[in-house]
Subunit: 330 residues, 2 copies
């Protein structure tokens, strides 16, 4: 079977591709496990260099997800599964509303329509976000039954994606699942336009011996999940039989509710003598305003029942990053 990962050259997309190559098979539209002979990492721009850890089964395709024909060309086999991760992120969406609608809404509809056109209800896993929550009416702890009241265009388009996936699934056009992600840490590389970018930066930059400038107070609390659990969760959510998911296909992913100060404390414990770059505070009102609308704690009863993984504590999250990206590169 073929696997398409939109936003595939991003960090999570690449890790997911590697994990699927390692597994070698997934459940196909016919219901049985099938070998994966082709993975396409679809993205808006060429990656800056070769992507490590991939093999002959994987290739990068560059294109604009808002072009219908492009997406239909991509989803060109009946034995297919799609992981739809492509998205304008939170901070980016606030800067360019039209781009957020074009990529997240039009692009998302293109993916849904292309899957529908295959027939046979192929499986789709969509990266949603706890940014679907927010605003004055948001409870202190959000969960699977909390009303979606997003306060960013990013969150609004993710909420719309969840609704469309439920309806396309109900109609039998596809077999969709939405992974409602908390902030995923620790992302390697450079900061991005996600308002939550600091949550990775506060661990990554010090470990790289670089300064980290924090745009929010250290008391800021947010639900986080390690990337290893996120990637494994994507795969497991894909494998769950549709009947086990019922009529609401959006699953609040597991998360730890931690403050930035607690992430820093975990970093200091785990770094164990390494020289760390300095962390300084420089409040950024635009970032603070977005982060303030997000939930600080997220329940995940359905994800727990499905056995989706989670780290035991923030130390484990930092340790995984050091193993995968710091020690790896030394």
């Amino acid at each position: 079977m073929k696997v398409v990962i939109t936003g595939g050259t991003g960090f999570i997309g690449r890790m997911l591709a590697r994990r699927i190559l390692e597994l070698g098979q997934l459940t196909g539209p016919a219901g049985g496990r099938e070998p994966v002979d082709e993975i396409v990492l679809f993205d808006a721009v060429e990656p800056p260099g070769p992507l490590p850890g991939l093999d002959h089964r994987a290739r990068v395709v560059v294109g604009d997800i808002s072009e219908r024909a492009r997406v239909f060309d991509l989803i060109d086999r009946d034995d297919i599964a799609v992981f739809h991760l492509a998205s304008v992120v939170s901070g980016g969406g606030e800067l360019d509303f039209d781009l957020a609608l074009r990529v997240n809404l039009t692009g998302g509809l293109n993916v849904l329509e292309a899957l529908r056109a295959r027939g046979g209800a192929p499986r789709l896993v969509f990266a949603s976000s706890v940014a679907v929550f927010g605003g004055a009416a948001m409870p202190t702890v959000v969960g699977d039954t909390t009303k979606r009241t997003p306060q960013t265009t990013y969150g609004a388009t993710k909420a719309i994606g969840e609704l469309l996936i439920n309806d396309y699934t109900r109609k039998g056009f596809l077999d969709g699942r939405a992974a409602r992600l908390p902030t995923i840490v620790v992302r390697p590389g450079r900061p991005n336009l996600a308002a939550s970018s600091f949550a990775s930066g506060v661990v990554r930059e010090p470990l790289n011996g670089e300064p980290c400038v924090l745009p929010v107070p250290v008391e800021t609390r947010m639900p986080v999940l390690g990337y290893r659990s996120a990637v494994e969760g994507f795969v497991r959510l894909h494998e769950v039989p549709g009947a086990a998911l019922g009529d609401d296909r959006a699953i609040n992913f597991p998360s730890l509710s931690v403050t930035v100060a607690e992430m820093i404390a975990a970093l200091r414990r785990v770094a164990d003598g390494r020289a760390l770059g300095p962390i300084t505070a420089a409040p950024d009102p635009a970032i603070e305003a977005i982060v303030a609308t997000w939930p600080t704690e997220s329940e995940f009863a359905r994800a727990a029942a499905l056995g989706l993984p989670i780290e035991a504590n923030p130390d484990q999250i930092v340790r995984a990053y050091i193993e995968d990206f710091v020690d790896e590169s030394h």
Copy 2:
């Protein structure tokens, strides 16, 4: 100022146009009350005959709401208010998914974009529906803070409309409000493709001396509101200052939770000696399946706080229909 009512030649659209003509003014984008000198009733098809109760200020424009340029031509003044009622209805959406997306989603986006293009954040009132609720996780009583889990394409597109209106409002592109309507009764004329059509038919057909064939059991309970209250509610929701509505612009409209049997009992009490056509049962599984997903009772704390009107009992709803449409035509 100009008023555009999309879906304007429908029953609620016509009543709303008459009410606005009667009032003569509405709050304009600048914040002050302005005389209404132009009302356009925009709809997909020509009405079968002249629309009574309108005057020189009102005219019908026929067009396809999914055509962007058509909608931009319509929303051609800065001093404007839009009541966006146009929609493929519940049963119709289940028959033609693509049409429902084209009219309800693309059409809705055209209205939002055309208003945004005016600048000055004009007011918009959108007809949403309690069909945004449904499914396995729906509580017995729904309300302003209940999660939207629609089980029809109609309900899904209404939920998406609510999310888009909140985001366009948050961005300052317009000043939106969503009126989340229960089943509106008693609609005159002929049955339509709304799965709730029987709720009007069970009063209307007997009073016309015609047989009513009920597609659902008489025990079926649903939230209903009289059309007089619905129309008045639309106007009042338009007039509320935006600041009073906060960051969630969807307001559960008032409703009475009544069974079909209770509507029939009200009809018998109010009909008071009139000869009534017979009511017979002929279950329609397609209608029953849709209606079964809807809430039976709907709370309306925010609407009550805003003073939106509601009838005291089902008798009052039946009496209004007799006054306006039965005695009127005799």
